[in-house]
């Protein structure tokens, strides 16, 4: 079984803690920004997303 790496970011807005995953940095930035805009009427800067992201294993 091939284990690939995905990027993960946990939204730290109060009471949220939504886990967002994507295949790469660009996709993660897009997904997090969409979540923060929709759920919190706000925005997260690219650098904050990259700095808070971690790599996680994924089984395709």
């Amino acid at each position: 079984m091939t284990v690939t790496k995905r990027k993960q970011f946990v939204c730290l807005a109060a009471g949220c803690d939504q886990v967002i995953e994507a295949d790469g940095d660009e996709e993660l930035i897009e997904a997090v920004q969409a979540h923060v805009a929709e759920a919190h009427d706000s925005f997260e800067l690219d650098e904050f997303i990259l700095a808070g992201a971690t790599e996680v294993d994924s089984e395709p």
């Binding site: 730290l12 807005a13 109060a14 919190h40 650098e47 904050f48 808070g52």
Partner: protein, 325 residues
């Protein structure tokens, strides 16, 4: 990192003259430097014509309220540019050429942010000289918390210069631990507290205000460009804090002590939140918590839950900043 050894002393001396390594160029700080170089923008290329047209149509009390914020940003950008000098000193003293390279872009950007405010204030409200700007400056230390629980301090214009002097004094000692500890305090105050938590909702307030008024697009554009630069500045600082704490985990309390010294400034509402009726006050307090938790994650420290509760407590609603004079 590959170690190069040589038996000839003069060759060993020459090795010290070169700071570039492949590892450094693959590193995160170098990536920020590259990004900053590729993202250079020029405030003189903005189109200010719509802002000039919009300005007289905005009611006087709203114009004055907005100037309370933009003038404070104008002064603040100049203050942070000046207080970058000790960061360069510390990077040099700690032998971090990658930090020095990145900080060269950081300083240019802070000066450019100040220039943006100079351009906007000169062209739109037509104020630029110190005596034209000073009447709009909001003095935070005049704020009183009615509950008496929090002391309000002037973090940008008193705290930062004081912490900066500590770094300069530490560099003079040539003691690595003393320099790292002073630098840790300074990075925490400058990048995590001021840039990373306190200021972030203020940027959003200006952007939201321009959107709500459907006015001042150049001001909005400038704030968006500045914020993008600030994202690099903030995460440079928080990653440097994490690096220092990795070697000195017992210093985590130093980070909390810095936040505690200026706790009231973060707990109170930002001055402009109550000046624009269209704005949702709680949104910016909730946002402040998100930024605080993000900064703690980036620095590798445990967030202070009591501070979070205080930021979100609706009964703590004193407004930081009052009109000067």
């Amino acid at each position: 990192m590959a170690q190069v050894t040589t038996s000839r002393p003069e060759e060993a001396d020459n090795l010290k003259k070169f700071h570039f390594t492949r590892e450094m160029m693959r590193g995160d700080v170098y990536r920020k430097y590259e990004k900053a170089i590729n993202a250079i923008w020029n405030p003189r290329e903005f189109d200010y014509s719509r802002d000039i047209e919009d300005w007289p149509g905005i009611p006087k009390e709203r114009r004055e309220a907005l100037l309370g914020l933009t003038v404070r940003f104008f002064a603040g950008e100049q203050a942070v540019a000046e207080n970058l000098v000790p960061m360069l000193e510390a990077a040099w003293a700690l032998g971090r050429f990658d930090w020095l390279m990145y900080l060269s872009t950081f300083m240019m950007e802070e000066c450019k942010h100040a220039e943006f405010f100079a351009q906007w204030h000169e062209r739109v409200p037509r104020i630029l000289e110190p005596d034209e700007l000073a009447p709009y400056f909001l003095e935070r230390e005049k704020t009183v918390d009615p509950t008496g629980r929090f002391e309000l301090k002037e973090v940008v214009h008193e705290g930062l210069p004081r912490y900066a002097r500590e770094v300069t004094a530490a560099v003079q000692t040539q003691d690595r631990e003393t320099i790292e500890r002073a630098f840790l305090r300074f990075l925490t105050l400058y990048n995590a507290h001021v840039e990373g938590v306190l200021t972030m909702p203020s940027y959003e307030i200006v952007v939201d205000t321009c959107t709500a008024w459907d006015a001042l697009p150049a001001l909005k554009q400038g704030y968006r460009r500045i914020m993008s630069d600030e994202g690099r500045h903030i995460t440079f600082g928080t990653s440097a804090v994490r690096e220092i704490l990795t070697d000195n985990p017992e210093w985590e309390q130093v980070v909390h002590d810095v936040f505690n010294e200026f706790r009231g400034t973060i707990v109170g509402l930002v001055e402009y939140q109550k000046a624009v009726p269209e704005l949702d006050l709680q949104k910016y307090q909730v946002g402040k918590v998100r930024h605080y938790r993000n900064r703690c994650r980036e620095m590798g420290v445990t967030a202070d839950d009591t501070l979070i509760e205080e930021i979100l407590d609706p009964s703590i609603d004193f407004v930081v900043g009052v009109t000067a004079g």
